[in-house]
């Protein structure tokens, strides 16, 4: 019964989405306020219906209703509760439902926080989101129904892929999808602006917070995926330039460019059509990302489906959304206008440089990700593009961008003078040079690339700090608190995100420069020295888990006579599927990680004999994710800005006033 309710809710949601997508659009064209007013209740109803459907599927998973095919294939009664719940989005169908839920949720949020928007714009934005929802709901109902029943129902489910039985599964997909789908709001704003031909500073002010929030969620989602890959795949890498990772990284790059371009559009009215194009691009890449990951074109743990009908549907959907919006852009971009003038040395030009570099980086990632797929599709053979390509391309493109990150926030709009910039930044230049020259010695060995990386990180950090100090010095207010309060949260958010980039660079540089990776054969009682610490293998003990049997190894880490930590890496065999998983054991610290994972027994004695053991030392690796967290926090800080809340306050004040009058 419950799954049928869910299925029915999806059908009604589709009908509501059609209403939401069509009527307000017609209303906006005819200036018919009754038709436009349909948008808000429709968006809310759509969210409630999709949430109901999602709840029904989650209920089926949590209660192990194996008569639902999706549950039978992706869950098991032995699975712990939180994984049964997370298994809701562990399948292709379930993840699409999560996508639709997020889309409904963003539409709901827009309907709540858009009362200060002009009616026409509000109607069009919600209508575009409704149109996108039609595509996804139709896809689910025709090609990947999550509620298909099995008759007779199996007694036991096939289990969730062992790789996915991880805390990361609970958090990573929802966060990532929040980000992906969040760009649909920026996309809807862009399309609405193109249709209306009106694109000005207030338009940019409305779309900015939405874009920033989506970007922040995407940042967290990608970082969580990276952490998950780091500890669960047993390879100790935090980024593999795997197509699946690139699929999430490309919208992030486009979104980053969009955030910066929106800033120019809001403050200076410039880059208008470029901003619109980026908004289309960011959402299109989110769709392509979904397609790449979900259609089974990639060799990866993420590829659940190998059904060509689905691929054709998604391709057609992509063609309609991307092709349609680009066509609209081609026709209407002229009406939107280009915007104000600026000199070659100005904040605008720096942000333009930032955008160009981000787009070049994006294009090179796109090339490396899609080219092998094209070659394969054209039956020209099979190739792959490995990390060396991405490393060779990405870092040189990012280096000048990071340089600009130091200058941009200090440069003034419209026109800056280079001598003036130099006076304000020379302190940061000295700090950066000193850090690049000296800090690598502290790590024991001076390497040119490490020096460059630390130079750039120190440059961003020092330029950010000096930007704050100069603002505080020149602020007219008295007292440090008043001076601090004189600046907007948006400005602090930007600086916080930039500091996050600095922390991120420190992590990447030091882990790339000084990581030690060693695969060794260890007998019981045998030790090996890696990075100044001795790792002694103490043998294996079997230990049953809730739905798996683990072999738990004990590795004592000592430095000299001092005990550092005892690591307990596991080799798990999941009972339902027989899948084997390596669980690394990691001791994290601010200066780096000790990382041990088990390979396999290498002697005839089996598990009691010698094992292949992987030992990694990862200096400063946690800074990478800490940096991502700072970036996301910066995003969330930025949207706390008064100018975004002002309208809301007015509304509350108005409501309070009305309530007071009513009471009187």
């Amino acid at each position: 019964m419950i799954p049928e309710i869910g299925h029915f809710a999806l059908i009604v949601a589709l009908l509501v989405a059609i209403v939401q997508g069509v009527l307000p659009m017609i209303g906006a064209a005819r200036r018919d306020s009754a038709l436009m007013a349909v948008a808000v209740p429709a968006a809310r109803a759509q969210f409630v219906l999709v949430a109901l459907a999602f709840g029904c599927l989650a209920w089926s998973f949590v209660n192990s209703d194996f008569s639902v095919a999706n549950v039978a294939q992706n869950s098991n009664s032995q699975l712990p509760l939180h994984y049964r719940f997370a298994a809701t989005w562990g399948s292709h169908e379930g993840s699409l439902l999560l996508w639709a839920l997020m889309l409904g949720g963003w539409g709901f949020a827009v309907s709540l926080f858009s009362r200060n928007l002009p009616n026409v714009l509000r109607a069009r934005v919600l209508a575009v989101m409704g149109l996108v929802a039609i595509g996804f709901l139709l896809f689910m109902l025709t090609a990947s129904d999550p509620f298909v029943r099995l008759s007779p129902p199996p007694v036991e489910g096939r289990d969730l892929n062992a790789l996915l039985q991880d805390p990361g599964m609970v958090a990573h997909p929802p966060m990532l999808y929040m980000g992906y789908v969040g760009f649909s709001v920026a996309f809807a704003f862009a399309i609405a602006a193109l249709i209306g031909g009106r694109l000005d500073a207030s338009w940019a002010r409305w779309s900015r917070p939405w874009t920033t929030v989506a970007w922040s969620f995407l940042t967290i989602g990608i970082a969580l995926g990276s952490i998950w890959a780091y500890y669960t795949l047993g390879w100790g890498g935090w980024w593999f330039w795997d197509p699946v990772e690139n699929a999430s990284f490309m919208p992030w790059l486009a979104g980053t460019a969009l955030i910066h371009s929106l800033a120019v559009t809001e403050k200076r009215g410039a880059f208008r059509s470029w901003t619109v194009l980026l908004a289309i691009l960011a959402f299109s890449l989110s769709l392509i990302g979904t397609f790449l990951v979900r259609s089974g074109v990639l060799t990866s743990v993420h590829a659940f489906a190998t059904d060509p009908a689905r691929g054709v549907f998604i391709l057609a959907f992509l063609a309609v959304v991307i092709g349609g919006s680009l066509t609209l852009y081609a026709i209407r971009a002229g009406a939107v206008g280009a915007g104000g003038d600026f000199s070659p040395v100005s904040r605008e030009s720096m942000l333009l440089g930032n955008n160009i570099l981000l787009v070049i980086a994006l294009a090179s990632v796109l090339l490396g990700t899609l080219y092998p797929l094209f070659i394969d599709a054209l039956k020209l053979g099979k190739i792959s593009v490995g990390p060396p390509y991405f490393d060779a391309v990405f870092y040189p493109v990012m280096a000048p961008m990071i340089f600009l990150m130091g200058v941009g926030p200090i440069a003034s709009w419209r026109k800056s003078r280079i001598p003036d910039l130099w006076t304000r930044l020379q302190w940061a230049v000295y700090v950066a040079l000193a850090a690049g020259a000296l800090l690598p010695f502290a790590m024991g060995q001076w390497k040119p690339l490490v020096a460059l990386g630390l130079l750039l990180a120190a440059w961003v950090a020092a330029a950010t700090v000096s930007a704050v100090l100069q603002r505080l010095k020149s602020a007219p207010q008295r007292g440090i608190v008043a001076k601090l309060r004189a600046n907007s949260p948006a400005w602090y958010g930007m600086l916080l995100a930039h500091l996050g980039v600095a922390a991120f660079i420190v992590g990447v540089t030091l882990v790339k420069g000084y990581e030690i990776e060693r695969d060794v054969r260890l007998d019981v009682g045998q030790g090996v020295e890696v990075g100044g610490d001795t790792y002694t293998f103490q043998g294996i003990v079997p230990e049953p888990g809730p739905n798996y049997d683990a072999l738990v190894g004990t590795v004592e880490v000592t430095r000299g006579t001092r005990h550092v930590v005892t690591l307990k890496p596991q080799k798990r065999t999941y009972r339902a599927s027989g899948e084997v998983m390596t669980e690394a054991s990691i001791r994290s610290g601010i200066l780096g990680d000790h990382y041990v994972s088990l390979g396999e027994p290498v002697t005839a004695k089996g598990v009691d004999g010698a094992w292949a053991v992987r030992i990694y030392v990862k200096p400063f690796v946690d800074w990478i994710w800490f940096g991502c967290l700072l970036m996301a926090l910066g995003g969330f800080t930025a949207i706390a800005d008064r100018r975004y809340r002002l309208a809301l306050k007015h509304r509350f004040a108005g409501a309070l006033g009305a309530a007071a009058r009513g009471a009187a």
């Binding site: 060799t299 020209l380 390979g599």
Partner: protein, 155 residues
């Protein structure tokens, strides 16, 4: 007039920078492409000698041996028509099993064996890596339908 020249100069500089970036990207791209070959192609000496490539197929049942006191393993990869020996030093992925699909990256050694630097198994139990599956399909269909990789490279 002067402002106009300056603007042209800036645009020219910008275009030059983008051009250099594109050139760097494409050259990095060319030198980092890794081509995929089947064991039959390896046996027929169609593989590059100077650069790493990938080979895929099934791990032949019973072919896995370990060298004592090291982490070096030897196994044979087959596309059901031809079989090649592979050596690898390091930890094998969880999904590596005899009789299952595998993709390895590396180059040919002087001993006639494929020296793998990386053994890939990013696929689940029921799912063969597409490269390995196509190697087997190609071997069974016969060489005439095999897409030539030299063609792809010449393009």
């Amino acid at each position: 007039m002067k402002a106009r020249y300056r603007r042209f100069a800036w645009i020219g500089l910008g275009l030059a920078a983008v051009g250099i970036a594109v050139a760097l990207v494409l050259s990095a791209f060319r030198s980092n492409l890794v081509f995929f070959f089947t064991p039959s192609q390896v046996v027929a000496h169609e593989v590059p000698q100077s650069r790493p490539f990938r080979v895929g197929g099934l791990v032949e049942a019973g072919s896995l041996t370990r060298e004592p006191n090291s982490l070096t393993v030897r196994f044979r990869v087959t596309d059901t028509a031809k079989t090649i020996p592979v050596t690898y030093t390091g930890l094998l992925p969880d999904l590596f099993k005899e009789g299952k699909g595998v993709v390895a990256q590396g180059r040919m050694g002087p001993d006639g064996a494929f020296h793998a630097t990386e053994v890939l198994a990013k696929h689940d139990e029921n799912y063969m890596p597409p490269e390995a599956r196509s190697a087997i399909e190609q071997a069974q269909k016969g060489p005439e339908t095999m897409p030539s990789l030299h063609e792809a490279r010449a393009r």
